[in-house]
Symmetry: C2
Subunit: 452 residues, 2 copies
Amino acid sequence: MTDYEKIDTYLETNLNKSIAELSKLVAQPSVGAQNLGMKECAALVADMLKARGFKVEILQTPGAPVVFGERKGKSDKTLLIYNHYDVQPPEPLELWETPPFEPSLRNGKLYGRGVGDDKGHIAARLFAIDSLLDADGDLPCSIKFIIEGEEETSSVHLYDFIAGNKDRLRADACIWEFGSVDHRDVPMEYLGLRGICYVELSVETAATDVHSGLGGSIFPNAAWRLVWALNTLKGPDERILVPGFYDGIRPPSRRDRELMSALPDIADEYKSRFGVKKFIKGLTGGLDLRIEEVFTPTCTICGLTSGYQGPGSKTVLPARASAKVDFRLVPDQKPDDILKKLRAHLDTQGFSDVQITDLGGDAPARTDPDDPFIQLVAKTSEEVYEMPMQLVPLTGGSGPSHPFVHDLGLPVATAGLGHPDGRAHAPNENIRIDLYLKHARHMARIISEFAK
Amino acid sequence: MTDYEKIDTYLETNLNKSIAELSKLVAQPSVGAQNLGMKECAALVADMLKARGFKVEILQTPGAPVVFGERKGKSDKTLLIYNHYDVQPPEPLELWETPPFEPSLRNGKLYGRGVGDDKGHIAARLFAIDSLLDADGDLPCSIKFIIEGEEETSSVHLYDFIAGNKDRLRADACIWEFGSVDHRDVPMEYLGLRGICYVELSVETAATDVHSGLGGSIFPNAAWRLVWALNTLKGPDERILVPGFYDGIRPPSRRDRELMSALPDIADEYKSRFGVKKFIKGLTGGLDLRIEEVFTPTCTICGLTSGYQGPGSKTVLPARASAKVDFRLVPDQKPDDILKKLRAHLDTQGFSDVQITDLGGDAPARTDPDDPFIQLVAKTSEEVYEMPMQLVPLTGGSGPSHPFVHDLGLPVATAGLGHPDGRAHAPNENIRIDLYLKHARHMARIISEFAK
């Protein structure tokens, strides 16, 4: 019998030390999109693993390196833990209450870019390992960490990395990089991730911007070309117009709907948290909103840029315009297929002048809600959160879970310290310290029970 | 008889001194859109006028002040000269070969923001006045300068200023702020300006940006709202879709077409200068291109901004998006009317959430090609440019000529130092020194002949 009392005491006693270690990790910028501090952060994470007796390799990819760590344990089972050390860009900087790379502890929360997504999970999981080593001097099972540096830029090189390292990554189950409680503080078990196809669409119509008084009536305008091209992708009814886009989509099963209907109505919570007055597509809440939120694919404009964007007016006809667009995909859509269809669609619509830059993609993937590992992860939460986890068949976010599920053949379970006001990808990203401790306690239990 | 030989000798001898004065004026930033250096520049311009014996007033408006200067002359005629001391924003800075506010003389050109538009005209005209004073100790006629500071931001307060200062501005004719030669070095006389209605369209859909994985299927997206709203304004066929937009437009007259057909084909020149592969609306060149260029109104997107615009990807659903849009208007469209129709159109199309910020407007205005003052300005060019000016019934740019023509009742003639590669509103704005000297020589002749 694992002595969870001893483990919990260790975690409570050493919490401040672990938060200090996390703060050091957050203070090291690692903005993948801006290639800022990536090598330094990989080295720091490697050191953190080595300090726990892991055999660590920093493995190069054509992009940011992957930190791989392995430590043998008592049982013959192996748990693979997937995390990432890269973070989202911190912009817009002016909206942060404290600087993004100067972690700040206040009101029971730690603030900083990447504190929740995903550095807090790395630190909390190592903290759980500390407690197991303290209790027994050894790990109950073998643990492998794969900590990549391109999750926030669509894990462009992870697929090849996994394909080329199947032996190294061999395991019996996988813990995903994130997890969270919902707005009621109920821990959630997300059983699948949507896929993503992220592109930049760009147009160039001239060598230089032109005075709008001169060119407006006779010259092509890059901003207009972009607007018209975007408009062919989706209209105000939110239906995506790329031919074949919806092909092969699997509607939610009876079991999916059963699990989704056990979730609380989220409408008011979303409206107040994000300051949104109403939902699109006439949605008002309940099961319809829950199903629509995750079981439909999207086409989201993440950014637009062209011409003059400063204060006041500048009468210029822009030569260049671009948009960042992400498509969230549901089973069994595939990013490569969507990319091809998008190109064909733009050509058909007369927008061969619109260039597509592939900024990365993930295929969607799911794990069976009745898999024994899922059940174990859900059940071990009971002692920590005083309730079992609530199973969610699919979540709206994306990640590279497809190769873990389909290439490595692993059940993938989420467990984590996230909370709904954690502001991942936004200014004032934060974690709750109470949930950080709970996640470490939960992880210690998952590892111990999984080892048996 | 005016001694033009003496005047020309003075101008040639003192050219470097005048360029030095202009350089000092260009070195003083005066970016209206960014409220940068406006008062300082107005004071500098006032000093330049005072140095020529003008009685100067710096007159306040709700925006940038107007510099008004008057000096009596021998005849009872008064020439009003309109200029502006504000300049366009210098961005994008990285495309300047030398810094925009550090005037640089090379290869017979002076580079700097505002050197052509419009500070070079101020300096060259004062230089012409210097030569007249040198020749005769007095001005041949009275001269009034109205030098405003909001031309690049649509002269928003000039209309009220003119309405409130009709006596002060009383004159017999008006020289406009600009003028230029074309690509063959033929001086052009522009007889009219298009109007403009410049707006910012903005949308806010939430209090904060949202992770695109969470909100993409259910939340409104400000960037999409903006794209769809813009798309209702104009489609790829370039037809503007705001109901009533084309009401009251006067097609070019027989005399207009006669004057336009005397202009050379500009197609190849435009293509090579701006790096444009083809024109819109199937235009290829000739008279059709010339007529379309100026006699049709436009709807130009001058800028787009929303969400993440940095390198790589950021998966965010933007809460805010905005576009800068200018409508160039032809006789007899009116900016106030267009603004009302735009609001009504957006409301009808379901875009009441799109806010319109009025960033200023001008009504179009024209002067009769057969007005004696136009003929005088054209004819006086002959000795300087070795050819009379070529008359152009309307030009594509805009400006506040409507109150000069219609409220003050003046014939308005253009004359200036511009050239086709002058890059007004763009990086590396420049003037040719030879044309600077020619403009000063021409202005001395205009003033002398007008006085008679």
